[in-house]
Symmetry: C2
Subunit: 195 residues, 2 copies
DNA sequence: CTTTTGTTTAACAATTTTGTCAAACTCAAA
DNA sequence: TTTGAGTTTGACAAAATTGTTAAACAAAAG
């Protein structure tokens, strides 16, 4: 079966991705996805058999893409503080592009109980936590459970994006103003993590 | 219409609340809600006319309940640092009870575009931010945009609960272990906010 | 005890969303 | 140009979810 590659399959996937992660429409219907992509709804079934399969594919690709991006940072051999600064920068850039990807992953993890307790990930996390521990031993980072350090770091980076609509309303800010606030956070998070 | 009050209406509402906020089943069906409550599905329509109305009621009550709890803390006249310590304690206790309430509110805010830009809330937030500003002027808190201070505070408190399933998997922890980690956070957040 | 009123139930109807299929279509190869 | 494989479409079927109604039921009032 040699495909003629009209780009439709990818278009559907990209559109779904955009609806889910950029617009936050986590429960978009096949009809809504098809409309947004400007194609016939049946094509969703033609290319992906079922909505669930499309769902899973988009979900996994999104998760893997994000994880890979972070891995590049984790695996790099730069000094700890630089690594963190880099992580913050990459994380916030990625999250600004797809603000709802996090929310999506969280919600799904919750529905599916346990999906991936991938060993490889556990290994990398452990390596990073040991790295944190070393910095603490050297007295360069406030001593605490390394897991708390990670929770702090990711909380400070991710949560303001998850709650963007809420905080825009509370603070009375528009999109641009909030984007600036997020940009300013890069430095602020760094300073909060390393006082 | 004098009700006979069999407790069914409240039971349905409580069950929905539990499914939504404690179990994270944000899209529980009327059938699922009825089953969990051990009542006939039709009763959902009898008491609430439609699923949407039940939905809205539970949502609003949850939101108001949470907001009121926090208001008690905000309105109290204790010294700033004590107020923050109290806020952390209350916030974490409430969130531990209904871990997914936040997620729910966020998701809904997102669907409904703008629901409440309540003036009253804005006023209280402003008052609190001025309070923060004063502390900064006194040099008791690291100087920054007060909104960033609030983002930091709420991120550190809320996010580890939102991402609990994720982090339990990553860290290889069970529920109790994670609960302990959350309990330890109270002090840690305080120290992170006030280095 | 009978009536009344509010509650519960099962059967049914309507709606929404998803999946299937055959026919129409398109483009490249024969 | 004709053939053929992949693509697109509309009509239809199936499934899932929600809403309605009439009748059965239970408890308080008369």
């Amino acid at each position: 079966m040699s495909t003629r590659d009209t780009g439709t399959e990818q278009l559907i996937k990209d559109t779904a991705k955009h609806l889910f992660f950029a617009e936050g429409k986590l429960h978009a219907t096949t009809q809504e996805i098809a409309d947004a992509a400007g194609v016939n709804r049946t094509l969703v079934n033609y290319y992906f058999r079922s909505r669930d399969i499309l769902f899973d594919q988009v979900f996994n690709e999104a998760q893997e893409g994000f994880v890979c991006t972070l891995d590049e940072v984790f695996d790099s051999k730069m000094p700890f503080k630089e690594k963190i600064r880099n992580l913050i920068s990459v994380f916030i850039k990625e999250t600004a592009k797809y603000p709802f990807r996090q929310l999506f992953i969280i919600t799904e993890m919750n529905r599916n109980e346990l999906i991936n307790a991938k060993k490889s990930r556990t290994k990398k996390v452990k390596a990073f936590m040991e790295e944190i521990q070393i910095e603490m031993d050297k007295g360069l980072v406030k001593k605490m459970d390394p897991r708390q350090f990670m929770l702090n770091l990711f909380s400070l980076m991710a949560h303001p994006f998850l709650t963007a609509p809420l905080h825009k309303a509370i603070f009375g800010m528009n999109d641009e103003e909030y984007a600036i606030l997020m940009e300013d956070r890069k430095q602020l998070i760094y300073e909060t993590i390393f006082p």
